[in-house]
Amino acid sequence: MFKILSKRLIAPKEYDIWVDAPRVARNGKAGQFVVLRTSEKGERIPLTVAEYDREGGRIRIIFQVVGKTTMEMAQLKVGDSLHDLLGPLGNPSEIENLGTVLMVGGGVGIAALYPIVKELKEVGNRVITILGGRTADLVILKDECAAFSDELLVTTDDGSEGIKGVVTDAMQLLADRGEKISQAWIIGPTIMMKFASLKAKELGIPCWVSLNPIMIDGTGMCGCCRVTVNDEIRFACVDGPEFDGWGVNWNEFMNRMGQYKNEEKISLEKYQSEVGE
């Protein structure tokens, strides 16, 4: 079970894999994630399901190498299996026809945004998508998002593609031309979600953000993933992962993400010395 069926490097340090997981493929929806382990001694890490192949019993995961577990995953070959995989977890995105929706993605967060883009389009929304990255190589899934968007804007910090600037610049551009947007989804690096949410608030656009705190069980039983939204403590794995972007306490969120910096470093260095990197 949980065999890796295909694997592709799609950007520096970003891999696109399909995994055999028939039950998750059957019952999962856009916005949900899985928790997996690579080995018996491994950590449980959450990753979003980017696409479901219900007939084929497969799920697609796109991950970025940031530490020990994701590096270990990058070493796995087609035919290898993950040790454990649990899902689908979290609440599905609220998909309905809202009129015009704005989809903002950055970094590997685009993988989480893509299934929502697709489903929102399929129920008839007018979809405007903004994808941002430091440089053109890092903006993943452009064609796939474009296929389900009425308009797609790309922003890069270095101007190597699309608008030179950040996603909030593109958001301003849309506002300036008078776009009436009913709802936004913003998924990407924390700092991007924070500033894009502030921008959305400034422009009066309600927005969902998908929070990715450190998790353990992913089923609501530990409270490790707690975040503060509109002054209330919520568990991201069962109350989220999508929350009202206007209400997130971003500073606290970022602070909690850094809790295990030292330990993550120890773990990564140990692994690198073992695999001889």
Binding site: N27, K68, D84, D217, V238, I266
Partner: protein, 467 residues
């Protein structure tokens, strides 16, 4: 006869408190055969056997003790296993002082301690485990199909009993290891995980399928289960941590006991970096609460080499809900207790890390709904305890994933499943429930006991439907 009884229980060997405070090995080492037989002779074989009435699953206590005293261990085991499916576990974690041992006749004699029933139960169960394994041939399982949700003591018991009766049982467990709290909550030094794995192995040998990584309500839906199985048993436990919601709850260094213990037990954080999941290496730890969960968190923190571990509990020592043995062990190991004390605020540094806990002294006022005197804060008594880690162990609520996916199932006013305590029956004829998800956080033996009863009612439900 009575005068010959030694006043104290036969001493049992334990790891030295200083040594064990630095390892996760089991604290209590158990009786030898001679010690166990000696202790067994302290039993008076009372005709009235108050101990049986004190046992939630009515083990024939004088019976198994008599066989043990006579050296007939197979018979002793048979008597035990007739009433309980997890004796090696219960012998270790049951609150005997409020159950069998609390009413033992010997203990009622002035100056005498009761018979060490729990330690004897453990002895017989461990003896059995040390014997060559018997080949178990799973019984023919053609009476029907039952799905069990959750693999804690309630679910495991239902599964084992139904398999023996001739049902094909599949257990669905959300986590990657079965066992429920026995696996992720209670630490190794009180309940070695080997024992839990052995019990689960035995249940598997009966032909029970245990599927891990399967959250019911998500991975498999309730509709799928209800259409594929003749009946459903829900034993999903009470695992959702409560927080006091004090200012500073989300500072780095503030944990729920569930997170703290899950990292350590299920994820082996005490063996980091051999295992990948870390926990914080803390110097000064404050644990809030007075139950078993609080004791487990405090004693785990000590074993992770904290310099100082303080338990703050809002009532007094008399109301402490933890097993008394665990409290004594904690004190021996050097854990400091601050009774009649409650935290009011977690204080952080400029980086968002916890640096201290502001507490207030309490006094006991009028009795509350539970009959215990209500603790009330003493004005102006606030003081600060320095701490880099705080663990809140103030209780848990029902696990919600399944309940949210199952709106037809009737809940009670506390958000637990509304099920008959004797039969496990719910408002839906094919759905049964038991354990912490019905009673709220309780005990292993109660979860196991209701599992036994539920297995019988599931059997009669399926047979009446077929017949």
């Amino acid at each position: 006869m009575a005068p010959k009884i030694t006043p104290k229980k036969t001493p049992i060997s334990e790891q030295d408190p200083v040594v064990r405070g630095k390892n996760f090995d089991e604290v209590c080492l158990g009786y030898t055969l001679d010690e166990a037989r000696l202790e067994a002779t302290r039993c008076l074989q009372c005709k009235t056997a108050p101990c049986i009435a004190g046992c939630p699953v009515a083990i024939d206590i004088p019976g198994f003790i008599k066989a043990l005293a006579e050296g007939d261990l197979p018979k002793s085991w048979e008597i035990l296993s007739d009433a309980t499916s997890l004796p090696a576990v219960c012998g270790r974690v049951c609150p005997q002082e409020t159950q069998c041992e609390g009413v033992c006749t010997v203990g009622k004699i002035k100056g005498k301690e009761p018979v060490a029933i729990g330690k004897l139960e453990r002895f017989v169960a461990d003896w059995k485990a040390s014997q060559p394994e018997e080949a178990i041939t799973p019984p023919v399982q053609d009476k029907g199909k039952v799905a069990v949700v959750g693999s804690g003591p309630a679910g495991l018991t239902v599964a084992g009993d139904l398999a023996k009766m001739g049902y094909k049982v599949t257990v669905f467990e959300a986590l990657h290891e079965p066992g429920g709290v026995l696996m992720y909550g209670i630490p190794e030094f009180r309940l070695p995980k080997e024992i839990v794995r052995r019990e689960i192995g035995n249940i598997r040998k009966l032909g029970v399928d245990v599927e891990v990584n399967a959250v019911v309500g998500r991975t498999v839906t309730i509709e799928e289960l209800r259409s594929q199985f003749d009946a459903l048993f829900i034993g999903t436990g009470a695992g959702t941590p409560h927080f006091m919601n004090l200012p500073g709850t989300n500072l780095n260094g503030v944990f729920s006991a569930s997170e703290y213990l899950t990292r350590i037990n299920l994820m082996h954080a005490y063996e980091f970096p051999v295992y990948d999941t870390p926990t914080k290496t803390s110097k000064k730890v404050v644990v809030v609460g007075g139950g078993n969960v609080a004791m487990d968190a405090a004693r785990s923190a000590l074993r992770l080499r904290a310099d100082k571990v303080t338990v703050v509990y809002r009532r007094s020592i008399e109301e402490l809900p933890a097993r008394i043995e665990e409290y004594h062990h904690a004190v021996e190991e050097g854990i400091v207790f601050n009774f009649l004390t409650n935290p009011v605020e977690y204080i952080g540094d400029e980086k968002g890390n916890l640096k201290a806990v502001r507490c207030i002294r309490m006094e006991l006022g009028e009795p509350d709904a539970s009959g215990r005197r209500r603790p009330v804060p003493i004005k102006g008594s606030e003081f600060v305890i320095e701490a880099d880690t705080v663990v809140e162990a103030i209780g848990q609520g029902s696990n919600k994933v399944l309940l949210n996916a199952f709106p037809e199932l009737k809940l009670n006013k506390w958000g637990y499943i509304d099920a008959d305590e004797k039969t496990g029956a719910t408002n839906l004829p094919d759905v049964f429930a038991g354990g912490d998800i019905v009673t709220g956080a309780a005990t292993v033996i109660l979860a196991m006991g209701v599992g036994r009863d539920a297995a019988r009612s599931i059997d009669s439900y399926i047979q009446s439907k077929k017949g």
